[in-house]
């Protein structure tokens, strides 16, 4: 395939056409869900295949004669965009197949309209990573934000969902303004807004830092970096589950793409202070997200905070990349970048899997509240099985995929002593400690997530009627479960592909990869080796041998009985830990992070009620003051607005006189 770009662009346009076809029969659910969504999934697979083949090719460019006069759209497909296209294609395929079985009649907007929004959303994300000029980039970026806004507010009759959507749109636009300014700085006086011109522009270090700061703010708002994270836990529960999966799995990643593109490709001379800033922000975001995820009671909010945590981990990895790159250690930068991108890919798979699983649970039970679920492993064995795999992967446990990327990033941390900067050397162990703490906390969060939803006894009688997911939904879940297993067991293949990006952006590669197909060797075999295949085989053989030995030497007899529970009678399923109960230790240890309002019942209360309300302190620290300041200044300016026409004419007259005085 000499040139994959036209094929990919055609396929992306195909997504838009598919979406528009949905409008032909907007109320016909069978047409939309059984025909259009599976076709969309096929397009996703095709894009992933073409992009995968383009990874090995040199960069390709194309120009489209659409856009403003004299400003055609530039497209470019290099290894970095190809990687993100693979991510978009693979994730979109799984989510589309799932969606084919998910959407029901009478839920929110008409199916045909949703189909259009959904496919435009997919196409705009693909265009974001294909764009090669600021104009095309911003148009795609804003289309992406708008399409996802409409998807979030599918059930726009609910007031909470409308306000969640508004918050999302607001932060998306604040971020977009920052990006616009960033591109304004990047053109460096040439007034050419193609990325090629930006690559050639030379910026003074101060202006480069300004551009980087603006990019970090703009992309950080999309990625959910603290303190710009507040829209995530509102928007994700509001959106339908497949949309949450896409937003969390793919859309957040476009922010990572953008930051990599700007700082390693367009500016291409990173400064080490940027690395420290990104590392610190990422470490704090990761820890913050994990702590908040541990105390959530809504399963989708929990996953949203967990996305914040994972974005934090990804940004620490990218911070390390910038540090190494700025201080000239390109091989180690390649290791950190490979770990970062690997985690980007992994997070898209397991987070989509878990969001889709919550969608099935939501449909089967009508509950998002963890405290009203439980015991679903018996009613929904398929969903529970796939979700278990996703849970283990996201908890960063070997031999699944989450562990591989965390392992690579930890290895990258171990190379930091070779950095020539003394101060940075001291900061990095603290970053590594925060990283390790975040990863360990994620395991806590996921035991809570899985245990409370799927294990134990049903906390509500209504759960007895829960049913398993439909076969199309199961296909979608299986797709992601398979991806988690494959990415976990065959990391060498993935790293080989990622090395193309390293070569392209950093001019360095991990080289030694090729020496072994079964084990990951970041630098040398004496330094570090991890072989997921040997690991899985070892544990599998041990488990099997023990099982056979115990059965062979002794017996396999089982006597069913009531639960022992230390001899206490345990009549109610309400005795199990609720989500609040499971999160209590974390709430206690990290109390300063939360604003806690708790209502405890009096000792002799005949109808005791317990209420707990946790809020994010950033609302008090940042958002309320800013909102108050905006409102106060609006009130001041509002004094001018008196509503009498004479006064407005007077304003015009005064302005004219002032201008005349200025000119003359």
């Amino acid at each position: 395939m000499p040139s994959a770009l036209p094929a990919i662009f055609t396929l992306v346009a195909g997504w838009v056409v598919l979406g528009a076809t949905g409008l032909l029969l907007p109320r016909n659910l069978v047409w939309v869900s059984r025909v259009l969504f599976p076709l969309g999934a096929a397009v996703g697979v095709a894009i992933a295949v073409f992009a995968g083949s383009a990874l090995a090719l040199p960069a390709q460019t194309a120009m489209l004669p659409i856009g403003l006069p004299d400003m055609p759209m530039h497209l470019r497909l290099d290894a970095l965009s190809a990687f993100f296209l693979v991510l978009i294609g693979v994730t979109a395929a799984g989510v589309s197949i799932y969606s084919a079985g998910y959407f029901r009649a009478g839920e929110g907007a008409a199916p045909g309209l949703m189909c259009l929004q959904y496919h435009v959303f997919l196409a705009s994300m693909a265009m974001v990573v294909l764009s090669d000029d600021a104009f095309a980039f911003m148009v795609s970026w804003e289309t992406m934000a708008l399409a996802s806004y409409f998807l979030v507010t599918t059930q726009h009759r609910v007031a909470e969902i409308r306000s969640a959507g508004f918050l999302y749109l607001l932060l998306a636009h604040v971020g977009a303004i920052s990006l616009l300014l960033c591109f304004g700085v990047l053109q460096g006086g040439s007034w050419q807004f193609t990325f090629n011109a930006m690559r050639q522009a030379t910026l003074s270090p101060a202006w480069a830092s300004v551009a980087f700061g603006l990019a970090l703010f703009g992309f950080g708002a999309k990625a959910g970096l603290v303190p710009l994270h507040v829209w995530l836990p509102e928007a994700h529960p509001a959106a339908p589950s497949p949309v949450s999966a896409l937003m969390s799995g793919v859309m957040l990643k476009t922010a990572v793409y953008g930051l990599i593109r700007v700082s390693l490709d367009l500016i291409h001379t990173p400064q080490w202070a940027w690395g420290v800033a990104v590392l610190a922000l990422g470490a704090f975001t990761g820890l913050f997200g994990a702590i908040f995820a541990a105390v959530q009671t809504d399963m989708k909010r929990l996953l949203a905070y967990s996305s914040i945590e994972n974005m934090g981990l990804i940004f620490t990895g990218f911070g390390l990349t910038l540090l190494f790159r700025a201080l000239g250690q390109n091989t180690f930068a390649a290791l950190a970048l490979a770990g970062t991108l690997y985690h980007v890919l992994n997070h898209a798979q397991f987070k989509s899997l878990l969001f889709l699983a919550t969608g099935s649970v939501l449909h089967a039970t009508g509950q998002r509240n963890l405290g009203r679920l439980g015991g679903l492993i018996h009613r929904m064995p398929w969903v529970a099985g796939f979700a278990l795999l996703g849970t283990l992967a996201m908890a960063g446990l070997p031999p699944l995929n989450g562990f591989v990327s965390e392992w690579l990033l930890l290895q990258a941390y171990l190379f930091t002593p070779s950095l020539p900067q003394g101060m940075v050397n001291m900061l990095v162990p603290i970053g590594a400690a925060a990283f390790a703490l975040t990863v360990a906390l994620a395991a806590y969060v996921l035991v809570k997530f899985y245990g409370v939803i799927f294990l134990g006894r049903a906390r509500e009688a209504a759960l007895e009627r829960a049913h398993d997911a439909s076969w199309l939904e199961r296909c979608g879940l299986a797709w992601f479960a398979l991806a988690c297993a494959v990415l976990g067991l065959f990391p060498v293949v993935v790293l080989g592909a990622l090395d193309r990006i390293n070569t392209e952006l950093l001019g360095a590669s991990l080289g030694t990869q090729a020496t072994s197909w079964w084990a990951v060797v970041p630098t040398s075999t004496a330094r570090a080796v991890y072989s997921p295949l040997a690991f899985a085989a070892g544990i599998g053989v041990a488990v099997l041998a023990v099982f056979l030995l115990v059965r062979g030497i002794y017996h396999g007899r089982v006597r069913p009985s009531a639960a022992w529970n230390c001899g206490f009678p345990d009549p109610s399923a309400r005795m199990q830990d609720t989500a609040e109960g499971f999160g209590q230790p974390i709430r206690r240890i990290f109390a300063p992070f939360f604003r806690i309002r708790r209502q405890l019942p009096a000792p002799l209360d005949p109808a005791p009620r317990y209420a707990l309300d946790l809020t994010d302190r950033w609302w008090d620290w940042l958002y309320r003051p800013v909102a108050d300041a905006v409102k106060a200044s609006a009130d001041r300016i509002g004094v001018l607005q008196q509503g009498s026409i004479a006064l407005y004419l007077l304003y015009s007259f005064v302005t004219l006189v002032a201008l005349l005085a200025f000119v003359l």
Binding site: L397, A433, A436, I539, P560, C566, Q576, P585
Partner: protein, 314 residues
């Protein structure tokens, strides 16, 4: 091939001897408390008794509940194959490094915590919550200890680390001293030993590990008990390999070397057991709310060790 046989033998030896170490610690504790004790072979008798019984399983247990003991035991066996117990040549050491080892312990922990929540009793979920609480603090502390050793030796592979540490001249690394204290604290917490948990208690409100495995019986309980003993063995072996690495042999040393290795390792393990019994006898169990402070101290000490290494370069 010789290496693999040698390493496999070592792993099997560790698995078989694990209950003996536990019995030895219990016996030492009994002596220190002026009791006669049940003898060092008591854990084996318990295992045999449990294996023969019928497994009583609560209604409403899912397959996860029955699979978890096997996964935990398998994970500990794999760990025994990664850690140099008797010799530096561990069979699977080339497949997984110290970070993967931490992940392996986490895998076992997550499975057993999930299984504890499976029956849906109050104690099960309480135990799971407490175990994960301890895990989330001890896991990064352990990782930081490994990081310190890895930075000194420029490798995350245990055999390389042990080989490097064993062949240095006898100087005290300040960073390793911090790491050693942190590791001891982590060992106590991870293995449900006294300042954090009491392995001999069934007092409902204080137990952690026992609360999780309350619903298990017979062969499943036997596997869990054995896996716990093996975990203690693994942790002790890691500690000895990192901080007292002398006397470990390589596969090339042949049967004689192996004999020497077994003798020195047994002596080291026996003294470690005495030290563990001593610590457990002289300290009191902490309130559960104090456990995070204890573990946070361990974590901070480990991070300090890392910083000291960066600062002093040793």
């Amino acid at each position: 091939m010789n290496d693999i046989l040698f390493g496999g033998f070592q792993a099997l030896l560790a698995i078989a001897a694990a209950p003996l170490l536990l019995g030895w610690v219990d016996q030492c504790r009994a002596w220190l408390q002026n009791r006669r004790g049940a003898g060092v072979l008591q854990p084996y008798r318990v295992l045999r008794k449990l294996m023969r019984k019928d497994a009583v399983i609560a209604h409403g247990a899912s397959p996860l509940f029955r699979a978890a003991p096997y996964v935990q035991f398998g994970a500990m066996c794999l760990a025994a194959a990664i850690i140099p117990v008797v010799s530096i040549t561990a069979p699977l050491a080339a497949a997984a490094d110290t970070i993967a080892l931490v992940g392996l312990f986490a895998l076992a922990r997550v499975f057993i915590a999930l299984a504890a929540m499976d029956i849906g009793t109050a104690f099960g979920s309480l135990g799971a919550r407490r175990e994960m609480l301890i895990g989330f603090l001890s896991e990064p502390a352990l990782l930081m200890v490994f990081f310190t050793a890895s930075l000194i030796c420029q490798s995350t592979l245990l055999p390389t680390i042990v080989g490097t540490l064993a062949h240095r001249e006898l100087v005290i690394y300040p960073s390793l001293a911090f790491a050693g204290v942190a590791f001891t604290m982590v060992l106590l917490a991870e293995n449900a030993r006294i300042p954090i948990d009491n392995p001999a208690t069934h007092l409902e409100l204080t137990m952690i590990h026992e609360a999780m495995v309350l619903e298990y019986s017979a062969r499943h309980l036997a596997l869990i008990e054995w896996a716990s003993a093996l975990k203690l063995m693994n942790f002790t072996a890691i500690g000895l390999a990192l901080f007292v690495p002398w006397g470990l042999t390589a596969a090339a040393a042949g049967p004689q070397g192996l004999a020497v290795g077994i003798v020195t390792t047994s002596l080291k393990l026996a003294s470690a057991g005495v030290a563990l019994a001593l610590i457990e006898t002289v300290s009191a169990k902490l309130r559960i709310f104090r456990a995070p402070e204890f573990l946070a101290t361990a974590f901070l000490l480990a991070v300090l060790g890392l910083l000291v290494h960066q600062l002093l370069g040793s």
